[in-house]
């Protein structure tokens, strides 16, 4: 049960955006700009970093919903998503993505551990300033979303099937705050 009284019928972050629409609008705008905005990082890659960070933070709602969005976006390559969450080092992703996931992992644990060396490794395999920036900010942003969603003990659907339509909606329509009341 959530720690505070939240609008019923909304899971996870949606219940919080319905509870306080002004902060909700800013949070959804940030997710939209970061995951679906203009970047050389594809939408699928951005969602992959979001799902990976959320799984490292053990946030079930964010992991399941962003993994579902990433699976939808990767289409026939959707097995990439679960492989990355299980062990990104052996997952079938590019060397560049592996170096970006290494940066995301450092951000999740302690951002001060993002060293010149791991950034240099990412550059060596083609990562740009924009991609490094976006990776750090996606990982940082999900360290916020995960804590917000779990810190207030929001409703987390237990049926994996519930996340599939959620992921498709996020991947196609984007981040639109819920209408409430």
């Amino acid at each position: 049960m959530p720690h505070i009284s939240l609008p019923e019928g909304f899971p996870g972050i949606r219940s919080l955006a319905a509870y306080r629409p002004d902060t909700g609008a800013a949070l959804y705008a940030l997710a939209e700009a970061l995951l679906r905005g203009d970047s050389s990082l594809s939408q699928a890659d951005a969602e992959l970093i979001a799902a990976f960070t959320s799984s490292q933070n053990d946030c079930t709602f964010c992991t399941c919903s962003h993994a579902a969005a990433a699976r939808y976006l990767f289409g026939t390559d959707k097995e990439i998503v679960d492989a990355v969450m299980a062990d990104y080092q052996t997952a079938p992703v590019s060397e560049k993505m592996k170096t970006l996931l290494a940066i995301a992992q450092c951000v999740q644990q302690d951002a001060r551990t993002v060293s010149d060396e791991i950034v240099a490794n990412a550059r060596l395999v083609g990562a740009t300033d924009r991609e490094i920036h976006d990776t750090v900010l996606i990982a940082a942003t999900f360290c916020m979303f995960n804590r917000y969603v779990d810190g207030l003990a929001t409703l987390t659907p237990t049926d994996p099937g519930a996340y599939e339509p959620m992921g498709e909606r996020m991947a196609t329509l984007g981040y639109v705050p819920p209408k409430y009341p």
Binding site: T23, N57, D58, C59, C106, A111, A140, C143, G151
Partner: protein, 187 residues
Amino acid sequence: MPHIQVPENAPGILGPMKFSPQTAEPMNALANALLQTDEGLSRGERELIATYVSSQNECVFCQTIHGAVASAYLGDEDWSLVKAVKEDYEQTPLTNKMKALLAIAGSVQKGGKNVTSEQVEAARHEGATDKDIHDTVLIAAAFCMFNRYVDGLATVAPSDPNIYRYRAARITQKGYSAEGEYTPQAT
């Protein structure tokens, strides 16, 4: 040196925000909605929570600028109250409600699942409302983002306290924005 190329004279979070205005805009909108209001918690109390979480994350830039803003609101001219809150808030003259909310913020900083029903009950017992609890959790969570953005890109934190005092005065007057400089313009 920052990990990416950011504009000169843009210390701390201002550098990456100028690099990426499209994400800076909603981040500043969040900071303004969350910190620039006295509805429930006061501006000074909100900034104290932000400062405490930033110190737990050992983010020098964020704890110094938000500490300076908190001090400006709370009449803490020599920054001694903010320093005491960072060191051990239990020993400060803060209200029991604020102490209970800082305990929740401390749990959020470690990970959202660390917030217990007992902590929430204790805060309610001291008069915290749903909105106070909500805002505390979101401020703490948001600074787990801001701190990581600032340190994950190895931005530069100025060492001169006057730079933070100057910027803090500007924030109390105009709110959060990626515009403007951290140092007074030469006249």
